[in-house]
Assembly symmetry: C2
Homo-oligomer: 403 residues x 2
């Protein structure tokens, strides 16, 4: 438990300017696994101290909620990632996050962690608490029962069956509720895929590709990109699904995240044209459920057991709707070759608002291609990419931007 105490302190390093860390031995605990710290009461526990300075501290604690929430990246879908911190008398007395769909929400873990100390405390939560019975009871009731004094939320929930109802329920129970405006943007970014699905009924789509330095699409990724910590491995962990072409699936090892504990994405394989048979040689029979084939005509797939859906209209909009209906919030459209089935999906993506984000990896060589410009699609005219960021990864340059 000493180790757990130590790691807890490390993860709060950004708060050390306002809180005093006290390291003490922790009693064993096995419950509340996704409560972040192990404690019961203030005796014999690790406690970080701070003077909560009203709303000045709200940003601090909401950022900590976001940090906690991200620990479950890639595991919560179709639910959002949520983190919660309980603060009493300027001290953090409970922390938690939502680990996985079907498991309790962040508030429950944080309240369990706080125990009796939740009474008269302030609960910080990155997303509005739910007020409905789903797979778990409403978090509003848990907060009311714990007798918290007030609740600070990072953003309201865009889910129509939640939106503002959680806040209303808390207020009606006499609990003061306020929005942490300064951190709303980071809370929105944390759950951009969940929010997009809620508002549009479609999965959030990111177009990923690799270019040579002269702008030609190349069917490879940069050195180390698919290893632990590599950008591609990280993307695969964070996305619920990955769209690839049948040509790619027939010839190449299926993409895998090498992140620790990663849940692999669903492989969404696009088969178009006259093809009546598809062999996915790198997919084992027992993993057939990890892939789904979308085709515009009947097709036989090996290994058997892979679900095949024949679509009347093979277009990105209907695919993203289908995936959202199946509970996928986010999908990576992995563009590996020009002129293939993925190209036709991406026509006019900007005008139809189908792709939300673009990730381009640039490799340090000059490629020769006689074809049409590989990425000359997206709309009828040029458009800016917003919030473009770039970084160097193993001698390559990675660019990310929003459509």
């Amino acid at each position: 438990m000493a180790a757990a105490a130590s790691s807890s302190l490390v993860s709060r390093a950004h708060l050390t300017t306002t809180r005093r860390a006290v390291s003490m031995a922790l009693p064993p605990r096995s419950t509340a696994r996704f409560g972040v710290r192990g404690r019961r009461g203030l005796v014999g526990c690790v406690r970080c101290q701070a003077q909560a300075q009203g709303s000045d501290m709200d940003g601090h604690y909401i950022r900590r909620c976001v940090e906690l929430a991200r620990k479950a990246a890639g595991h919560t879908s179709p639910n959002p990632m949520v983190g919660c911190v309980i603060v009493r008398d300027g001290r953090v007395v409970g922390e938690g996050f939502h680990p996985k769909a079907g498991q309790p929400h962040a508030e429950v873990f944080a309240l369990r962690d706080a125990g009796d100390l939740a009474e008269n405390a302030t609960a910080y939560v990155s997303l509005e608490p739910c007020n409905h019975y789903g797979r778990t009871p409403p978090c509003t009731e848990a907060l009311i029962n714990a007798k918290v004094k007030d609740v600070v939320v990072g953003m309201t929930d865009p889910n129509p069956i939640v939106a503002s109802k959680g806040i209303e329920r808390l207020k009606s129970a006499g609990i003061d509720v306020r929005l942490c405006v300064e951190e709303e943007a980071s809370c929105r970014k944390l759950n951009e895929a969940y929010i997009h699905r809620m508002l549009t009924g479609k999965a959030f789509a990111t177009l990923r590709t690799t270019l040579s330095m002269n702008g030609v699409v190349v069917n490879q990724i940069g050195s180390g990109a698919d290893q632990l910590g590599g950008y591609y491995s990280t993307l695969l962990k964070e996305y619920d699904g990955i769209i690839i072409s049948s040509n790619f699936a027939e010839t190449t090892t299926l993409p895998m995240s090498n992140e620790t504990g990663a849940k692999q994405p669903l492989y969404i394989i696009i088969a178009q044209g006259e093809k009546s048979q598809l062999n996915i040689p790198f997919l084992k029979q027992e993993c057939a459920s990890e892939a789904i084939v979308l085709s515009d005509s009947p097709i036989t797939v090996e290994p058997s057991g892979v679900e095949v859906l024949v679509l009347d209209q093979m277009n990105l909009e209907s695919i993203l709707q289908l995936l959202a209906q199946r509970g996928l919030c986010s999908v990576l459209v992995d563009f590996r070759e020009a002129g293939g089935s993925i190209t036709s999906l991406l026509n006019n993506f900007q005008e139809e608002k189908l792709v939300q984000k673009v990730v381009v990896e640039l490799l340090p060589f000059w490629a020769v291609s006689k074809g049409p410009n590989d990425l000359a699609f997206g709309g009828s005219q040029s458009f800016p990419l917003k919030d473009v960021e770039h970084s160097e990864v193993n001698g390559c340059v990675l660019l990310e931007g929003y459509v």
Copy 2:
């Protein structure tokens, strides 16, 4: 002069770990303008002190020579850039650089700066001293006459009328000469264009272009790129010529460097096809000598006075040979549009070893183009770019690499 003393100290900041700076008032001087410091003897001067530790210090002083040499970037062609430092008893007693073709060489300015203190001193020079009578007397004689003890050179001169002859002459006069191996690469990079012209008889060519984030060539440059300190303004200052298409010259302001004291590049305008008339509206009559038109058929050019050369073979190799014969060491091939006259020049540039360097600017937007891949030329297969570097400039990413 106090200001000159101060700037001299600043430019030597990288040596402060091994040298002690002593700031004193400087007497006025008007001679030896391209000697770097103002002094006559050790009284009343700025002097930086160091214990010369044999060859350990050679790298330091050769790097200083390179730094001095670069002060004349864009002005020395067809000569190389050269810097010289004279060191006696661990003290820098003279510095100089070659400012411009026709002016004295770096050694002359540095020896003038050192005066009598050159006797028994070590002369550091980034390029082998010349041993022939050109527009100025040989530097070897100046070094011998000044009675320096030894000479450290950054690299031998690839010029066939110099190569190793300077070193031989010094040795025959009893002066010890050694090559600073550790800094040879930086000396070569300093004069990569000059060396290339000497060894191949062709101008050093850099292909520059701007891409959208999806790899489409766009006819624009990034915000601020042509302003003082912008990468494009700096390139224009450092290159002797710039190759542009007649379409570009007919419709757009001619590229200008905004660097302080910049010498503008020669405009080399490529006119191909049936065109019999070319109007360069942004070139004033009195500036006609700043441009040259290369055409594959007779053509009338406005303003009159612009030199027109009709080439039997309009290809990059003959153009680069022609420019080298005219004394240009370096030329920027500014690629602004696909499918134009510049595209045809660049076919197979890698296989024919015609382009030495590539500069690609990446703008944060997605462009739509129905044409063939704009930069799908260069050779019959892909090739790596070496020593690729990238940087951010005003929200764009700049990539540079060698072919």
